[in-house]
C-alpha cells in the first residue's frame, strides 16, 4: 500500500515564468567547465591525429627534443633567450597545426596563478633592490618587518622586472612545451615513450591508471550534479553548496580507489604485466633523427646566445 500522500496530486502550482531569469551558479559552471576541459585536455586525440610537424615525429625523439628545450629554458639566464624559446614553441605549435589560441589560453590560465604570485612581489625593491623604474606607492617612512626593510617608496626595479620576466618566461615556455608534447602525442604512445626512456614503471602505471579512469570520474561527477539538480527545489546557501561539494569529493575519492582496482583487474585479465605495448611502435627514422638534431642545435644556439647576451 502506498502512503495516502503519495496517492494525491502534487499541490505545488504548475511551473510558470515570473520575475527575472535565474543565473547559472558558480558550482554548475565549474563542473561543466571541468568536464569540458578534461575532455579536451586529456581525452581528445583529435590534435594528435592531425598531420603536423610534431605528430609525425617518433614519440621518443619528440620526448627527447622537448626535454632538451625545457632543460635549456631552465638553465638560460637571459629573459630574452627564455622568451625566445617561448616564441619558438608557438612556432612549433603552428607547424603542428595546434591552434596558438588553444596553447596560449591553456598556459596563461595557470601562469598567473603559480608564477605570477611569486613574480609580482619580486619586481619590487622590497625583494629585489636595484635601479628603480617607477614608483608604485609612497609609504611615508621606512619600516622594518622581520628581516625585511620596507623603504619609504615602493618601486619596481629593473632587476626585479628582469627576474620576474625570467621566472614567468621559464614557466610559460616549459608549460607550453609540455602541453605541446601531450597535445600532439597519443597518451598510450607517450607512456610507451616514457617507459623506453627508463621512467620508473610504477610512475608510468600510475599515470596510465589516472588517465584511464579520469573520464569515468568526470562523467560520474557530472551525473551526480545532474541528479542533485533534478531534485533541487530551492537553491542552497553557498555554505551548504560547499558542504555538498566537499562530501562529493570524498565520495569520488572512494569511488576512484574502487575503480582503480577494477580497471587494474581488467588489465591483468588481458595479460597486462606492467609493460606497455602499442599497436604500431614507430621506428626511429632518419627524419626523426634530423628533427632531434635540429632541436638540439636550437638548444645549443640558445645557450650560446645566453652566454653573450
Amino acid at each position: 500500500m502506498i502512503p495516502s500522500w503519495l496517492g494525491k496530486s502534487n499541490p505545488a502550482p504548475a511551473p510558470t515564468m515570473r520575475g527575472d531569469v535565474g543565473r547559472v551558479t558558480f558550482l554548475e559552471k565549474t563542473i561543466a567547465a571541468t568536464a569540458a576541459f578534461t575532455e579536451s585536455a586529456f581525452l581528445n586525440d583529435s590534435l594528435a591525429d592531425r598531420h603536423g610537424l610534431l605528430q609525425v615525429v617518433e614519440p621518443r625523439c619528440k620526448l627527447a627534443a622537448i626535454l632538451a628545450l625545457i632543460i635549456t629554458t631552465s638553465f638560460a639566464r637571459s629573459p630574452l633567450v627564455v622568451w625566445g624559446i617561448y616564441g619558438f614553441t608557438l612556432f612549433l605549435a603552428a607547424l603542428s597545426r595546434v591552434g596558438g589560441r588553444l596553447i596560449t589560453r591553456r598556459v596563461w590560465l595557470f601562469v598567473p596563478l603559480f608564477a605570477g604570485v611569486i613574480a609580482l612581489p619580486a619586481m619590487c625593491n622590497v625583494i629585489t633592490p636595484g635601479e628603480p623604474l617607477f614608483v608604485v606607492t609612497h609609504l611615508g617612512k621606512v619600516r622594518e618587518i622581520g628581516p625585511y626593510r620596507i623603504p619609504a617608496e615602493l618601486t619596481v626595479t629593473r632587476q626585479g622586472l628582469l627576474s620576474a620576466a625570467l621566472l614567468v618566461g621559464r614557466v610559460a615556455a616549459s608549460v607550453s612545451l609540455a602541453g605541446l608534447l601531450t597535445l600532439t602525442t597519443r597518451w598510450d604512445r607517450l607512456l610507451g615513450a616514457l617507459r623506453l626512456a627508463r621512467v620508473p614503471q610504477l610512475f608510468i602505471l600510475t599515470l596510465a591508471m589516472t588517465y584511464r579512469y579520469l573520464a569515468l570520474l568526470v562523467g560520474t561527477a557530472a551525473e551526480m550534479h545532474e541528479a542533485r539538480l533534478s531534485r533541487t527545489v530551492r537553491y542552497l546557501s553557498s555554505g551548504k553548496e560547499r558542504q555538498w561539494v566537499a562530501s562529493r569529493m570524498g565520495f569520488l575519492f572512494r569511488k576512484s580507489w574502487c575503480l582503480s582496482q577494477e580497471i587494474h583487474a581488467a588489465m591483468l585479465a588481458r595479460g597486462f604485466d606492467g609493460e606497455i605495448r602499442t599497436l604500431d611502435p614507430q621506428r626511429v627514422t632518419g627524419r626523426d633523427v634530423s628533427f632531434l638534431a635540429a632541436m638540439l642545435a636550437v638548444c645549443g644556439g640558445m645557450m650560446a646566445v645566453d652566454r653573450f647576451v
Binding site: D45, D188, I263, M267, A269, R270, G271, E275, L279
Partner: protein
C-alpha cells in the same frame, strides 16, 4: 546431458563421468574486507567444451566466482585449481604460467567501461594480443578479424569511451576474443543491452560453444540460460550453490527459481520459455 541435479547447502556442481575439469573449486569461501560474504563453500568443476550458466540473484556472488576463476581474486578458504594447478598470487606472478593462463582464459566484465581504456577500438582489441607477445602486425590483423566477426569494423578508429552501451559491450567481447582464449567467462553479458543485442549475444555464445570454446556465463537472464546452457548452476542468496545440473530440469523447477530469487512467486513463468 547430465541429470545430476543436487540441491541444498553445499551442493556440488560436478556432473557424472566427463573429461578432466579445466577448473576445480573445493570448499571456496570469499568475503570482501573480511566482512561481506560473497561465496560460502563453493564446490564446482568446469569441464572443457561445456557452456555453464551460473544463475543467481543480484549480490549472490556470481561476479566474485568469475573473478576467482580468472585468477583476479583468491579464496579466503578452500582452493581453486585451473588446468590442474592451484591458483595463487605467487603462481600468477610467474611469467610463463601467467602468459599461458591469460591466453587461455578470458573474462568479459559486466561493466564495459572498466574494460575499455585504449585510444581507439582497434587498439583496444589489439591490446590483449600485444600483451601476449604477438607482433603489432599480427595483433592488428587479429583485431581486424574479430571486429569483422562481430560486425563492428566501422568502429575501429572510434574512441571506446564515446560508444553506445551495446557497442561498448561488443568491443569488450572483441577485446577478449582477440586473445583466442579456450575458456570465456562472461559476467552479466546481457545486462543493460537492448533485445536485439541480447539476441545477438546468444547467437555468438552458441557459435563459440559449437567451435569448442568453454563458456561460463554469470547471469540472471533465464531466456539466455535456456538458449546457451549445457549445464546450469544456481547460486542462492546465501552465497552457496543451491542446485546444479541439466538446464531443462533446473528451468522447469519453479520452486527452485522462486527460492533463488530468479523469478517472483506471482510471475507467470513456464519452461520452455
Amino acid at each position: 546431458m547430465e541429470q545430476d541435479r543436487t540441491r541444498g547447502v553445499g551442493a556440488n556442481g560436478d556432473g557424472g563421468a566427463a573429461p578432466c575439469p579445466l577448473f576445480e573449486l573445493a570448499g571456496v569461501h570469499y568475503s570482501y574486507h573480511g566482512a561481506i560474504p560473497a561465496l560460502a563453500g563453493i564446490d564446482l568443476a568446469v569441464r572443457a567444451g561445456e557452456s555453464l550458466v551460473v544463475l543467481g540473484a543480484n549480490g549472490c556472488g556470481k561476479s566474485t566466482l568469475l573473478k576467482l576463476l580468472d585468477g583476479l581474486l583468491f579464496p579466503d578458504a578452500g582452493e581453486v585449481k585451473a588446468f590442474g594447478t592451484r591458483l595463487s598470487e605467487a603462481i600468477l606472478e610467474t611469467d610463463d604460467f601467467r602468459r599461458r593462463f591469460r591466453s587461455r582464459v578470458g573474462l568479459v566484465f559486466q561493466n564495459p567501461d572498466i574494460q575499455l581504456f585504449c585510444s581507439t577500438v582497434l587498439e583496444e582489441v589489439a591490446f590483449g594480443p600485444l600483451q601476449l607477445g604477438l607482433s603489432p602486425g599480427e595483433a592488428a590483423a587479429r583485431a581486424g578479424d574479430v571486429l569483422g566477426l562481430l560486425g563492428i569494423g566501422a568502429l575501429r578508429d572510434r574512441s571506446p569511451l564515446f560508444l553506445s552501451g551495446g557497442e561498448k559491450k561488443k568491443v569488450a567481447i572483441a577485446s577478449v576474443l582477440s586473445m583466442n582464449p579456450d575458456v570465456l567467462l562472461f559476467d552479466e553479458p546481457t545486462a543493460t543491452l537492448d533485445p536485439r543485442t541480447c539476441h545477438w549475444f546468444g547467437e555468438l555464445a552458441l557459435t563459440l560453444a559449437q567451435s569448442g570454446k568453454t563458456l561460463v556465463t554469470a547471469t540472471h537472464n533465464l531466456h539466455l540460460a535456456e538458449r546457451i546452457a549445457t549445464r546450469i548452476l544456481v547460486m542462492g542468496e546465501d552465497h552457496r550453490v543451491t542446485a546444479a545440473g541439466d538446464p531443462a530440469a533446473i528451468l522447469a523447477d519453479r520452486a527452485l527459481l522462486v527460492g533463488a530469487n530468479l523469478i517472483h512467486a506471482k510471475e507467470p513463468f513456464r519452461f520452455p520459455i
